[in-house]
């Protein structure tokens, strides 16, 4: 099916854009903004606001109509698939299907100092009214906090015989997260640890697709709640044990 952005009429292709140009606000800047948008493939570009940002910068809001559409039949998306259970169900599932506690080690690695995402998933309190993994009867959780060296994380996983490793990455400037995650994956491979555990990564700029690309089992993006992570770990661990 061909689709176009929807403004106020089917297939009108209407979109709003906002951006800054390194030009003094004025007639020239305004025309430049308009032509830029048209050159991008928009028809009827209309500059509705130009603001002087001071110095040689100006800020624009532009409405344009694109003639570009997308055929959704051509798209294939990579989506993580697992049954979402609540905390009680997950605990029961682990008890019945696996019969022992699952060990989870979480960390924010290398230079990243942000633990918000990690804590949202692991801390007792959880996130969005959904309790964190520490609250589960059948998870044994080690939250190593922020700025954990990959080497230390791997050491910990071996020490506690982790079933799953949860890595959170928030800082993505200059693709530092990709660098960090690749380093961890390389080390896990080198240590022969990769196939002994579930490797999950989460963060506001993390997609499942990116996680797979980097060799992880799953990527959790923004809005993920703890019971989703718990469900995934429990069901995947069961599959893993069956395949062993």
């Amino acid at each position: 099916m061909m689709i176009y952005p929807y403004g106020d009429t089917t297939n009108d292709g209407a979109m709003q854009l906002s951006f800054t140009l390194p030009l003094k606000a004025g007639a020239l800047a305004k025309e430049a903004a308009k032509r830029l948008v048209k050159k991008m493939g928009f028809e009827k570009a209309e500059v509705v606001s130009m603001q002087d940002l001071g110095g040689d910068f100006s800020f624009f809001v532009v409405y344009g109509h694109t003639t570009t559409g997308i055929n959704t039949d051509d798209i294939q998306v990579v989506e993580a698939k697992f049954d979402h259970m609540d905390r009680v169900q997950v605990d029961e599932y682990i008890e019945e299907q696996i019969g022992r506690k699952l060990v989870v080690v979480g960390a924010t690695i290398e230079s990243d100092a942000h633990t918000v995402g990690l804590d949202a998933i692991l801390n007792m309190k959880g996130y969005h009214g959904d309790y964190g993994l520490e609250r589960y009867k059948n998870f044994e959780v080690y939250n190593m906090g922020s700025q954990v060296l990959c080497e230390d994380l791997i050491k910990k996983c071996k020490e506690v015989k982790a079933d799953a490793i949860l890595v959170s990455q928030i800082v993505t400037q200059k693709n530092i997260h990709v660098k960090n995650l690749s380093k961890l994956m390389d080390l896990m491979e080198a240590e022969g640890l990769r196939h002994q555990l579930i490797a999950a990564v989460g963060g506001p700029r993390i997609s499942h697709e990116l996680a797979l690309e980097l060799g992880y089992d799953i990527g959790f993006g923004p809005g993920t709640i703890p019971s989703q992570v718990a469900s995934y770990i429990a069901t995947t661990e069961k599959e893993r044990l069956e395949n062993e």
Partner: protein, 531 residues
């Protein structure tokens, strides 16, 4: 600006302040009896030692490490460097080079004439004090006499490109848009470096390294815009971490106006050893107090890691402890930028009433402080339109309750470091709200039995409970019990304990005494001269 009034009862306020004073008093022995590698490096920097070796290790680190290895750091680094200066008839920086490059052993130089060492010490100390006094006076002149202090809340924005030269472009543009204060966010994890990098830097992660040269570059850039606009633009950087005193010294030297400087942040949120932090924060705050640098404390962090309603009292307790520590360092209340934040989940019914209650509590508990109010971050989702609306509410509460430093929220928080236009939109939002609701506060009064009043008193009561327990067991034990931010830290854990050194009775640090005299602090800290 006419703000709302809460009419906080005076008895619990008095009680909270007394308890906090005692909590801090209990730690003054630890502070008096110990020095740290960072404090010793600071003294050397005051003596004019800058620069680094080919591996980028700062000279001050090399000297302090050398003295530590020789087991004499307990005497203070300055004594050995001064002695070497007298012996070789050289400047401290030349001595530093000799230690770094020629393996000069400072402990092998025979201890010379104490009169000469004392005289040199006085000369160098005076020169350093003259410099920071000059910088302080120049700022005060520009800020209060040549021009005038901008109306409050001050509009504070951040730059965080990682490249100081790119930061300059963004900072100047933000100042031209109306920002009163520019903060250069540090590269992530700098708080954990046990040295301060050298020179101008063009690469960083999530921010730009705090270096003395970067401070100088940005100060100069803001002064250019200041002159253009006939107003003074304040500059902010971050001191909390393993180099708290050193960064304070650099800030004082280069004319910074605010420094993030929290007595517990490093311990709780960066796992820095508690003794190290408690000792470092004191010396660091002496420098800030003497240089009229406004400290900014990090209470907002309690709310990003815990629930903003449940843990509101932790913010209050921490503010009180930060205030008590700052008073001990001779700081005037107006240089205390005590922190708090607008972080309540936007889905909560009547969340705004809680926010107003918390903001008013902070305002009335610290009437003379220059309060720092932090924007929503935890509940910013990437929906920039909702984010912009939340920032509007944040600005509204600030003007209504009389906050001082407004860290402008960015609509793209949680997405990327601010775009040029994001700062512009933030400044315009604040301009609109601050102007539009300028006198609104005086149109309303708050009944003593209203939700807002009850809530504020309840938070204070909970804070007092925590403080009372903390007084009983001691601050360090209380942190061990995870009473702050639910984070448990031990006295022997965390980074930087190896940098804590018990002072010898002959310990020498000329600056401690000078600062204390300047700030009229009477204390038993060993001062002495070289003996």
């Amino acid at each position: 600006m006419e703000k709302l009034k809460l009419r906080l009862k005076s008895e619990p306020v008095h009680q909270a302040k007394e308890i906090s004073k005692e909590i801090v008093e209990d730690l003054m022995g630890l502070i008096r009896e110990n020095t740290t590698t960072s404090i010793e490096r600071t003294v050397l920097r005051f003596f004019g030692i800058t620069g680094a070796d080919i591996d980028d290790t700062p000279y001050v680190n090399i000297i302090v490490k050398h003295l530590m290895k020789k087991g004499v750091l307990e005497m203070g680094a300055s004594l050995y460097v001064l002695n070497a200066c007298v012996y070789h008839d050289k400047e401290p920086e030349e001595i530093a080079k000799m230690v770094a490059e020629e393996n000069l052993d400072l402990t092998e130089i025979p201890m010379g004439d104490y009169d000469k060492i004392n005289a040199l010490s006085q000369k160098l100390t005076q020169a350093a004090m003259d410099h920071i006094t000059k910088i302080k006076d120049e700022r005060d002149q520009l800020l209060y006499k040549t021009w005038s202090d901008p109306p409050r809340p001050y509009k504070y924005v951040i730059v965080a490109t990682g490249n100081i030269h790119e930061d300059v472009v963004q900072a100047q543009t933000a100042a031209r848009q109306g920002a009163d204060i520019i903060a250069v966010i540090r590269s992530t994890a700098q708080s954990l470096l046990d040295y301060v990098p050298e020179g101008a830097t063009t690469e960083g992660f999530g921010g730009t390294y705090a270096t003395q040269e970067n401070f100088r570059i940005m100060r100069k850039a803001l002064d250019v815009v200041g002159k253009e606009q006939n107003r003074y633009i304040r500059l902010v950087n971050y001191a909390s971490g393993l180099c708290m005193p050193e960064i304070a010294m650099m800030g004082a030297w280069e004319g910074l106006d605010f420094l993030l400087n929290d007595s517990m942040y490093g311990i709780l949120f960066r796992d820095i050893n508690m003794k190290r932090t408690i000792i470092d924060q004191y010396f660091s705050r002496l420098i800030c107090a003497a240089s009229h640098i406004t400290i900014n404390t990090g209470e907002d962090n309690y709310l990003t890691t815990s629930d903003a309603i449940e843990k509101a009292y932790a913010v209050t307790a921490s503010q009180l402890i930060n205030e008590a520590f700052a008073l001990k360092a001779g700081m005037e209340p107006k240089y205390m930028g005590l922190g708090h934040a607008f972080e309540i989940n936007p889905d909560i019914k009547d969340g705004l009433s809680y926010e107003i209650a918390h903001a008013l509590l902070t305002r009335e508990l610290f009437p003379e402080a220059t309060l720092k109010y932090m924007p929503p971050t935890k509940h910013m989702t990437g929906d920039i339109f909702k984010g912009y609306a939340m920032n509007t509410m944040f600005n509204f509460v600030s003007v209504l309750t009389g906050q001082d430093i407004q860290l402008l929220g960015m609509l793209t928080e949680a997405i990327h470091t601010p775009f040029m236009q994001d700062r512009y939109l933030a400044v315009k939002n604040a301009d609109y709200i601050f102007n539009n609701a300028f006198s609104l506060g005086k149109e309303f009064s708050i009944d003593d039995d209203s939700f807002i009043s009850q809530r504020a008193h309840k938070v204070l009561e909970q804070a007092i409970e925590l403080l009372e327990h903390t007084r009983e067991v001691g601050l360090m034990q209380s942190i061990e019990e995870a009473n702050f931010a639910d984070i448990k830290r031990t006295q022997t854990g965390g980074k930087g304990l190896d940098g804590v050194v018990k002072k010898s009775p002959k310990y020498y640090n000329p600056f401690e005494g000078v600062f204390r005299r300047l700030l009229n602090i009477d204390s038993q800290v060993f001062e002495g001269g070289v003996r």
